[in-house]
């Protein structure tokens, strides 16, 4: 039942024998983000070498909250159902202050989506399944391959890699640094990584117990069993519980991670009668900071190597997976010569604001949870006290703001002249799921959006859609037609029946309108009618080939 860490075998890299080859893409770091990026790229036909200095998955549960957008990304990659099946779905959070419950909140999960607002799943499961999927896809996974030297050149990077068999050198077109908060690549390039450092220590414990606590997120401010600090309780699969204790700035990490210190804290919380076992303990502090830019010539940073946040809001792992989602299709388009190298600048333009948003939210949560002055504490405690009686104060209570998808509203890839009307999904927004039918079987809209190509979603039984007069030839797009009732499938496309009308409503679609979406499922723009010329122009714009001629053809 309990998870056993797999050991991945070291194999002597082929580059050590014979002429060294030049690789299109090398990813450093086989964590959540590196593996996700490798899988996404490989599925797009870009061969990846992944270097990892270890030979197993994450030790300890680490990133446990997989938010809806992340699950949708893993849905696209083929792992979503498995994660949903194993993960613990939760919707309710409770906030306690001292000896009492202040209020409960609902994540307001709207029905009619394949994935819930959030599941809890240990990072090691996600990584293990990613490794399996990467292997099947053909990623060259190199365990116990430690990067020891990086040379960044205008059109390539040269890497020195250490293995149990000695060192080798490889040349790569693109180096993707997913080597975490202490990124070796970042250090090697001497890049500044600055931001806010927090001094409070936190104790994180994975506890195995058969407890009848409900599947909810419980957060305590200043509880009697751990005065003046905060505590978080979260459920994971396998009867595993995440407990997080704030320890304050003066705690000694070495002492605090010892079982003789940890066990009494947990006993004080759970009571003497609850038997439990410690599975993993860690004491940490954190920073909220980022690189000034993520793209440095042929070296591109993603995940914690690029930006770091506090754990409140689950924005580290979820943010990193969105980095991978954003980068993979762009890099694939560049490697396949379908887009100019300039397209990669949009990774900075889109993911830096996203990182800023994550840093802002997680900094605010941290400041609320750990007040830094008497005034901050007074406001915090006043808000908590008011929240018990007054609904207005509940939104002020910040115990973490769950990761939300980046909306990319100001992306340079959003064609400025695309059609818009009230209620229409904004350019840059991720696609929204909806229940649909395909060939009489229940299905989900998002399963048909993105992936290998751009997707054109056409709403309504416009003549052009049903009679096959869509001139798709010049467009390399997947075609999805959404109809209110049964209709003939469009030639070369998929027909989805939107019986509930939810899809049309959620997108704010007008009958006969079309929406172009990127391979990462983010919206490019709307067209009031099918117009191959305008769609082609918008697609080229979204591939970084500016300026657009959309205005004249729309």
């Amino acid at each position: 039942m309990r998870h056993q860490s797999p050991r991945y075998a070291y194999r002597r890299p082929r580059d050590m024998d014979g002429a060294a080859t030049r690789h299109p893409v090398v990813i450093v770091g086989g964590g959540l983000v590196g593996l996700t990026l490798a899988l996404d790229l490989e599925q797009r036909g870009v061969h990846c070498v992944l270097l990892d200095d270890g030979d197993t998955v994450s030790i300890g549960s680490r990133a446990i909250c997989f938010a809806k957008r992340t699950l949708e990304i893993y849905g696209r990659l083929g792992l979503g159902e498995r994660m949903l099946g194993k993960g613990v779905t939760w919707n309710t959070g409770k906030v306690f202050f001292q000896d009492r419950q202040l209020f409960a909140f609902d994540l307001l999960a709207e029905p009619g989506h394949e994935y819930p607002a959030c599941i809890n799943l240990q990072q090691y499961y996600a990584e293990e399944w990613l490794v399996e999927a990467c292997r099947e896809a053909g990623v060259d996974l190199r365990w116990r391959n430690r990067l020891v030297g990086v040379e960044s050149c205008p059109d390539h990077a040269a890497l020195d890699v250490e293995t149990p068999d000695g060192r080798y050198r490889i040349t790569v077109d693109w180096l993707l640094a997913c080597d975490g908060a202490r990124s070796f690549v970042r250090e090697s390039l001497g890049l500044r990584f600055e931001g806010k450092v927090f001094h409070d220590h936190f104790l994180i414990a994975d506890v195995v117990m058969q407890a009848d606590f409900p599947t909810e997120r419980w957060f305590w401010f200043d509880p009697p069993f751990h005065p003046n600090q905060s505590v978080l309780l979260h459920k994971q699969p396998d009867d595993l519980w995440r407990i997080d204790f704030q320890l304050g700035p003066d705690a000694d990490p070495e002492t605090e991670r010892r079982p003789e210190r940890v066990v009494p804290r947990i006993r004080a919380m759970l009571g003497e009668a609850v038997p439990f076992e410690l599975e993993w303990v860690s004491v940490y502090t954190f920073c909220c900071r980022r690189l000034e830019r993520f793209v440095h010539g042929r070296v591109i940073f993603a995940g914690d190597a690029a930006h770091q946040v506090s754990p409140f809001g689950a924005r580290g792992g979820n943010g990193g997976v969105q980095d991978a989602d954003n980068l993979a299709w762009k890099l694939a388009a560049v490697v396949h010569d379908e887009a100019p190298v300039a397209l990669l600048a949009s990774y900075d333009a889109e993911r830096i604001p996203a990182a800023e948003e994550n840093i802002l939210n997680s900094t605010r949560s941290t400041d609320f949870i750990t007040p830094k002055s008497e005034a901050a504490r007074a406001y915090r405690n006043a808000a908590l006290t008011l929240a018990e009686q007054f609904g207005f104060a509940r939104p002020l209570i910040n115990s973490g703001r769950l990761s939300r998808p980046a909306l990319l509203a100001n992306s340079p890839l959003n064609p400025p002249h695309a059609a818009r009307w009230d209620g229409s999904l904004a350019p840059g927004s991720p696609a929204i799921d909806a229940p649909v039918e395909r060939d009489g079987q229940p299905d989900w809209l998002l399963r048909h959006i993105g992936g290998a190509r751009f997707t054109l979603v056409c709403f309504g039984q416009d003549d052009a859609f049903s009679r096959g007069r869509l001139d798709l030839a010049p467009l390399s797009v997947s075609l999805v037609v959404i109809a209110a009732g049964a209709a003939p499938a469009p030639p070369g496309g998929v027909l989805l029946v939107d019986r509930s009308g939810l899809a049309a409503r959620r997108y704010g679609a007008l009958p006969g309108s079309c929406l172009l979406l990127r391979p990462d499922q983010h919206a490019v723009g709307w067209f009031r009618r099918f117009d191959a010329g305008a769609i082609r122009a918008a697609m080229r714009y979204a591939l970084g080939a500016q300026p657009t001629t959309l205005a004249e053809s729309a």
């Binding site: 002055s373 008497e374 005034a375 007074a378 406001y379 006043a382 006290t385 008011l386 002020l396």
Partner: protein, 84 residues
Amino acid sequence: MPLDTSPRLDDPDALFAALVAAHQGLDAPLSRQLDAAIVLLLANHIGDTRIVLEAIERARALAAAHVFGQHAPTAAAPDPGDSP
């Protein structure tokens, strides 16, 4: 609509006395929480964040210019967390 700084209170003396009286018998931390609760209640009533931000800005400008009355010699040292 900007922050209205014209005289608007119907009974300023009573309001002032009520604010001071509310703190009676409270130690400094509780006193501070009371003020914070009053601010939050009023801020929510006003509802427009811009108005509240303008009020913060005006008051903060006074603090920065050190034009608030000086502490009496017996007053506690100012909280370092509040220093600019």
